[in-house]
């Protein structure tokens, strides 16, 4: 990939309608259907999470950040993710990435219910999903804090001579943290196999990009580190697969990191308590026209890869999966009281070694 000229930071008003006729980048038609289904699953999972969080007798606690609207980013990455070699790390809006990498929706929902059957045994919550066997290095709660960790995972790959890469994700808010600068510099200085991906959903909690970043073309925040940088349409699954796939290949070949800005939009608030007074109804309506799931579904329909009936079946499948996940979470036990004291240290002390 060549260093691209900076392009205008696409706002939701200026983003073009995606090309319906675009070539499908999934490896097969079957894979394309799976990717669509995964995006539907994530959406259904998130919308159900919203219902469970807000219903009386709330069973999901703490802070909870929904991924609705950004599905194409996580699912596009999962299409190029090489399990067993690659890693992914992200921030607290982590449900979509975890599901896309293969987390059982039951373990994910149970974690939010704080149950012993959750992916982190009920000790992490919504913001801290981890799954080591899938290369999922977690959701991280402190904005930007995971950027050096992802860089370190890439360092470990290079050190061990494994041709993998670490997809290191963060939001547009995180680019203003100090460690963003430190990690980008280290990654490029040591040519580490990192793919940095800014999920630019245009607003850090309630602060729009233009009120937080002096440089509005966010991909340029990746300049000055001697690595390629570019922005792309994060709502177009095929574009995600293409752009992120190229950067991953580059990393795996030892050519170093790439800085990518996925322009996207979140349909829900920052977290559950967010009334979204900072954006208009019209803006949201316009954004809905670029719903990544509808865009991909239309493309697959028009190219004859799915029928309307396939699509309806998928919808009903994911609904059932999510229903079962909620049932599973709700009937799972809370952690035993002694679990408070486990999983803190790996060793027993006094330690003789």
């Amino acid at each position: 990939m060549n260093v691209t000229e900076p392009t205008a930071n696409m706002s939701i008003n200026t983003m073009e309608q995606p090309r319906v006729k675009r070539q499908i980048k999934a490896k097969s038609k079957e894979r394309a259907r799976e990717l669509l289904r995964m995006m539907m699953l994530i959406r259904r999972f998130e919308e159900r999470t919203y219902q469970e969080y807000t219903r009386p007798g709330q069973r999901i606690g703490g802070f909870c950040h929904l991924y609705s609207g950004q599905e194409a980013v996580a699912v596009g990455i999962s299409a190029v993710f090489q399990k067993g070699k690659d890693y992914l790390i992200t921030a607290y809006r982590d449900h979509g990435h975890s599901l896309a990498l293969g987390m059982d929706p039951k373990a994910a929902m149970a974690e939010m219910f704080g149950r012993a059957t959750g992916c982190s045994k009920g000790k992490g919550g919504s913001m801290h999903f981890f799954e080591v066997e899938n290369g999922n290095l977690g959701g991280h709660g402190i904005v930007g804090s995971q950027i050096p960790l992802g860089t370190g995972a890439a360092f470990a790959l290079k050190y061990k001579g494994i041709p993998g890469c670490c997809f290191t994700l963060f939001g547009d808010g995180a680019i203003n943290q100090g460690v963003h600068n430190e990690a980008l510099n280290l990654a490029s200085l040591w040519r580490l196999p990192v793919v940095f991906i800014v999920e630019n959903n245009k607003v850090a909690m309630g602060t729009q990009v233009e009120r937080a970043s002096a440089e509005r073309e966010l991909e340029r925040r990746g300049s000055g580190y001697n690595m390629p940088y570019r922005a792309f349409d994060g709502n177009d699954l095929d574009e995600v697969i293409e752009v992120v796939g190229d950067a991953a290949e580059r990393a795996r070949k030892g050519e170093g990191p790439t800085y990518l800005v996925a322009n996207t939009y979140r349909f829900r608030g920052h977290s559950m308590s967010d009334a979204m007074k900072y954006r208009s109804k019209e803006e949201l309506e316009r954004a809905r026209l670029r719903d990544p799931i509808i865009l991909y579904e239309q493309r697959l329909l028009q190219q004859g890869i799915i029928t309307t009936r396939d699509s309806e079946e998928m919808e009903s499948e994911v609904r059932q999966i999510v229903d079962e996940a909620v049932k599973f979470a709700d009937t799972s036990p809370h952690p035993e009281p002694e679990e408070l004291y486990t999983d803190i240290l790996s060793e027993k002390y006094p330690l003789h070694k």
Partner: protein, 325 residues
């Protein structure tokens, strides 16, 4: 037994563990081509090459986080802080990531990493470069905190720290690096979480660690002349604390003085004092006294800096007070 410097003991520990385990590497500011800001890593770049002795930019948060990520993925980094005072800018990485990631993931990750470097007041470095991080990190569940006082302990404890699967905060002192001590040529390790009674006595228990152990031992010598027989405990590990060794000693002596160079309020000594009262309140014949630094920022002026810190005379005075002498 060969007598070597404290810095050589640290170096021997790192070299031996790097030879033993390919996944161990050293990373930090000036550890390679400069041969170490304080020459702890002298010669290691020539021996192991740039893949394993890694000079970093001045990016403490960045390279600490990078080390933690690498540890989560199967490596065993040793991260050198030129000064522990610089860890303030990396504290989110140490506390939120190194210490928490195992718990937050329900035990899915191990974080085998050692952070090491000079801690505490050195010589006229002023308020920003003289921080004592003992209590800052010892209060964090998920971390191990080690603070040796002599070359023999330093080598044995650092070797175990490198083999340990938990994140270890290893506190040295620039003021101890030239200290010499006997270190056996043959391999040995020392346990983490075990204090060492450096001098036995029957009249009073002096608890200390790291640099202040010298003041405690010197004070014990001075107290002999006053016919006070002091027992001196070197904690060696601050977290987890060896409460048993402390309790056993106080049940024998019934009097206790805690010596450290941290600040008095919420300092490391305060945490230890709470444990002493918890376990030994009824065994004590006098309230415990603490000798610590004055409650002020570290000054530049040499004499003020000395005035701020503990010294043997202050320890002697405190011991006499708890002995009602």
């Amino acid at each position: 037994m060969p007598e070597i410097q404290f810095r050589e003991a640290l170096r021997q520990a790192m070299v031996e563990e790097m030879e033993r385990d390919e996944t161990v590497f050293l990373m930090g500011e000036e550890v390679g081509e400069y041969n170490g800001a304080y020459k702890v890593s002298e010669g290691m770049l020539a021996r192991f090459g740039p893949k394993r002795i890694i000079d970093t930019p001045i990016s403490e948060a960045g390279f600490c986080g990078l080390g933690i990520g690498a540890a989560m993925c199967g490596l065993r980094p040793i991260v050198e802080f030129m000064s522990w005072s610089f860890s303030w800018v990396a504290i989110d990485q140490l506390v939120n990531n190194a210490a928490n990631v195992r718990y937050m993931s329900g035990g899915q990750f191990r974080v085998p990493i050692v952070f090491r470097g000079g801690n505490g007041i050195a010589h006229q470095l002023g308020a920003t470069h003289s921080h004592r991080m003992d209590a800052v990190y010892s209060r964090i569940p998920g971390l191990i905190v080690v603070a040796p006082s002599n070359p023999y302990d330093a080598k044995g404890l650092l070797k175990t720290s490198i083999r340990c699967d938990d994140p270890v905060i290893f506190l040295e002192s620039e003021m101890m690096l030239n200290d010499r001590g006997e270190v056996p040529a043959e391999e040995y390790t020392l346990p983490l979480g075990v204090a060492d009674v450096k001098r036995t006595g029957s009249d009073v228990t002096i608890i200390s660690w790291s640099k202040c152990m010298k003041y405690a031992l010197k004070a014990a010598e001075m107290l002999e002349a006053e016919d006070i027989d002091a027992e001196v405990i070197d904690l060696r590990t601050l977290r987890p604390l060896d409460e048993q060794t402390i309790s056993q000693s106080i049940r024998k002596t019934h009097r206790c003085v805690i010596v450290d160079e941290d600040w008095p309020y919420c300092g490391m000594g305060a945490g230890i004092l709470e444990k002493v009262y918890q376990h030994c309140f009824d065994d004590l014949d006098a309230p415990v006294k603490r000798v610590c630094s004055e409650d002020v920022p570290s000054p530049y002026n040499h004499y003020l800096e000395l005035q701020m810190q503990p010294n043997p005379e202050k320890v002697v005075a405190a011991v006499k007070e708890v002995c009602y002498r």
